[in-house]
Amino acid sequence: MAITQSIVDAVMEKIPDRKVVGVRLEIGLAAGVVADSVRFCFDLITEDTNLAGAELSIDEPPGQELRIKSVKVEVN
């Protein structure tokens, strides 16, 4: 939950006013974070935000990296 909140906060800080339709994450296998937990928490946390309904893509390479790779936004 804590990590997912950090992810959502970071995206909202970078993209405060456009609709976010996708978020690509890298969660290293040794990062200490469970991708499925992030998916579960993500939907809860993003309700009523500009990220609501966004699709989460998660790469899980070896290592400890915990990174937001990119964000897909709607172009007006």
């Binding site: 804590a2 990590i3 906060d9 339709v21 974070v33 937001i68 990119s70 897909k72 709607e74 172009v75």
Partner: protein, 236 residues
């Protein structure tokens, strides 16, 4: 014409029309780590030693801190979801303590600690002990700007916990096994515990204490005093 979506664009574009991919390449914990760096600097400027104490709820962190506070002039930051209980316990020893309440939050982070440090306002050269929220999972991920991490577990929790919570135990500079006065009454395999710690963290210092009875607390205080000596501020 784009062969994927049939539009007229020849440049790289998202194929759901009206979508644009913005590259971030940002570490999720970048903001926290940045603030932790600020905390580290704030502490160094004042020649302060900061220790992050983590454990499950009920392992004995606060009791160990009460014992410590009676003999070492520590300054304490307490973290709990709710209540002022722990800060009050430390204050009852005569030492300053500030309480952070995280509400629904499961761990302390660098921004909470930054604010608490300002409230605490410890004098130059002091020892700051930060008691994290009781939790063997999330606190491990959040750098607070501390010099060292102490992970406390107790004989009532089982000898396998270092293996079950490797991220937490791997991050420890010191592992304290508390409540050793209860060893006669529980099934706790000391050998297995030692092996488990070695497996996940071969360099951790392992101490055994009974914070309620006092056994082994001298060893903990010895470690703390050595840590205070070893942290040399760039000012000096």
């Amino acid at each position: 014409m784009c062969a994927t979506c049939g539009c007229g664009s020849t440049s790289d574009h998202g194929h759901g029309h009206g979508h644009e991919t913005v590259t971030l390449e940002q570490r999720v914990l970048a903001k926290n780590d940045h603030l932790a760096g600020h905390n580290r600097q704030w502490l160094a400027e004042r020649d302060l030693l900061a220790i992050n104490l983590m454990s499950s709820p009920g392992s004995g962190k606060t009791t160990l801190l009460e014992r410590t506070a009676r003999v070492v002039p520590v300054h304490v930051i307490e973290g709990d979801q709710e209540t002022l209980f722990d800060a009050e316990r430390i204050q009852a020893t005569g030492r300053p303590a500030v309480q952070i309440n995280t509400g629904a939050g499961c761990h302390l982070d660098a921004s909470m600690v930054a604010e608490a440090l300002r409230r605490l306002d410890p004098p130059v050269g002091a020892v700051v002990l930060i008691e994290n929220v009781g939790n063997l999972v999330c606190p491990a991920l959040f750098d607070l700007g501390e010099h060292a991490r102490v992970v406390i577990t107790s004989v009532t929790e089982g000898a396998d916990k270092p293996l079950k919570y490797p991220h937490m135990f791997r991050t420890a500079d010191v592992v304290v096994l508390n409540k050793i006065d209860l060893l006669p009454y529980v099934d706790f395999d000391l050998g297995r515990f030692g092996e488990a710690v070695s497996l996940v963290n071969p360099t951790a210092v392992v101490l055994r204490t009974s914070a309620t009875r006092g056994d082994g607390v001298d060893g903990w205080l010895e470690w703390l005093r050595a840590a205070r000596r070893d942290v040399v501020s760039p000012v000096h």
